[in-house]
Amino acid sequence: MCFPRDAREVQAAVRAAQHHGVPFVARGSGTGLAGGATPLDDALVIVMSQMDRILEIDPRSRTAWVEPGVLNLDLSRAAAPHGLHYAPDPSSQQACSIGGNVGTNAGGPHCLASGTTTAHVLAVDAVLADGTATRIGGARPDEPGYDLRGVYVGSEGTLGVTTGVLVRLLPDPPAVRTLLLDFTSIDDAATTVSGIIAEGILPAALEMMDAQITRAVEDFVGAGYPRDAEAVLLVELDGLPDGVTAQALAIDEIGRTHGARTVRVARDEAERELLWKGRKSAFGAIARIAPDYYLHDAVVPRTQLVGVLRRIYEIAAEQRLTMMNVFHAGDGNLHPLIVFDRREPGTWERVHHAGTEILEACIAAGGVLSGEHGIGVEKRDLMGRLFSPIDLDAQARLVEAFDPSGLANPRKVLPAGSRCGELAGTRPVPEGTWI
């Protein structure tokens, strides 16, 4: 393990790994949920936490250069005096790093309107697998040649090690309104989501929580969520005051048409923050219910939410598991959360089985394997359910073009044997690997 302080030290670490033929893995804060930063094969772990300086905030061009170890929330805090913020806001934003966000193309509640990390990263300074340092992308709107930046973002550390990031900052909206809609049925909440999207309204955030997680959160933070709701929607609108008011009215109406019992508007910033605190501490809340949880991440077309959610609860019932759902409903990004106690014999197997069935249900509904957590090792071997061998081979060719040595975070994202003609890599993931 090493803790480089600048790009040259990263370069030295990568060169040393190359020299000895040892794989290397970049690690940000280690909050990733797909095991992308988990070292396999005795890899050298390059931990980026020492590179945590915000190098420059330029309010004129609304951009900032940061080192990869800067924590997501720290960047927004530093931009705040300029009336700017960094839009992607994963629930883990107090802990996760910008370098890790680039690695996973992280999302968050507020990525619905403004896009995930890739829409906010203009350039990346990277040390490539062979140890050369380069700048990918730039401050200019277009770079000559291929969009290497687009390919690099979300590549989970398999194409190089990020040593600097140029991000776009957005102006803070003059008006923000947060609404809490509560429902007596999950179906009604899900149809409301589809209704809002179909109506052509794109809220800043559109989150859904089911009955169990709502109660758990309420017990944990007392955000004023209705304990007897079957589902709640947290909707945030931002922009200029009149437009926000008009959209709030429209959402009130759509909600009520689809059976919302109450529509509550946060009266002030304190109430708004409390509602968000509830949403963002969902994972803390469930720790009080059972010792273990497994958080899934998949996306379905928004029109399929009702059916897929029903199927997910069925799967949980069939496997006798406690399942909660708290997720980015506006872009169809589901986060089924299974809470369990792994000490109970047979539970772990049922958790895994349910997970696979959930992903299959999402794929059958026209969905994909991950919306923001990435593939890592967790879903690597499921890639074949979504992509043909020819598709996987094309992705493997791309990886090979960046890293002919195969030492940059190997055996992540693509299953063994993806490159047609490649010898199937063999060692299984070590027992007990934390994903």
């Binding site: 700048r135 277009d142 040649g145 999207i197 309204i201 996306v299 928004r302 919306g371 890639m383 598709d391």
Partner: protein, 351 residues
Amino acid sequence: MDLTATAAPIVDAVRAAAAVEPVGARTHAEVGNQVRSEHATTAVGVPAGIVRHDVADLTVTVLAGTPVAVLDAALAEHRQRVPLQPRDSTATIGGVLATGLSGPTRLGDGPLRDHLLEVRFVTGYGALVRGGGPTVKNVTGYDLPRLLVGSMGTLGVLVQVTLRCRPEPGVTEWWSTASPPGELFECLFRPAAILADSRQTLVCLAGDAADVAVGRAVLRDRIAVDGACLPDGPHRGRISVPPNELGALTAALDRIDGVDRDDGTWLAEWGVGTVHVAYADAQQLAAARGIAERHGGWLLREAGGEADPSGAPFDGFGAAWSGSGTANGELHTRIKRAFDPDGKLAPGRFG
């Protein structure tokens, strides 16, 4: 028809040919370097048609040969749009994406690459590959869609794409105003576009009627206009510079020999960093390229330009490739080889 059957003639053509030029409506044929090969070049076209418009989900899947105007009309019926906005809307969707030129409302709509969700394309080794996914959010595997946007047909022939639609804004207004663009960039909230030439600022406001009224009120000496007219002329290009350079760069463009400040030879996208230029003669375009480079930018030729007697590739993409030896140059070469091992797709396009 299933896509494998639709793509079969393209796969066959790519496999059989020694050099392939993917072609749409040829509206962007002059952009960048031209295809050149010692082999006979086979032009490969792509079928047209809207495969599926998921109205409630705001996504649309089309065959890449579909003209932009056809898609625009189909989406307009549902008050939706995909802001592709080529100069000439007879352009095919595949051609627009492969060329990678974003439209004039990039400030509000985001770059072209952000509109593409899923691609199916035929590689140089004759495989029909799928990349990305049909949902509006997706991090499943490597981002092949973004790789293909702007790849100029050198990595694959786009056959079918899924695009993200947007709801048509309640109100869309274009204004010409005397307010300086830098000032408007500071004070307008989420404008769709702030464009400026040497005489005026053009602003696009889009959204809720009341919000648009707020924006409109700050525009001095405003006159309603139909939209933005990009500069036109036989020798055209687009400059890409860091947005902070726009003021200095456009001042230098006004000093090019033989250019009258009032001719409207340039139009700058404020907050973005794109400057569209058009000139009567090739020397002026060359001068604009020099200015772009002095301001940390580059110029992509869109039409005309200097005669090229040497047969050497035109500049423009040169920066990416000329530097073989540079890390990015090497990456480009290796990516090209990965998807087109025999170098048969659009040879010469990238120099």
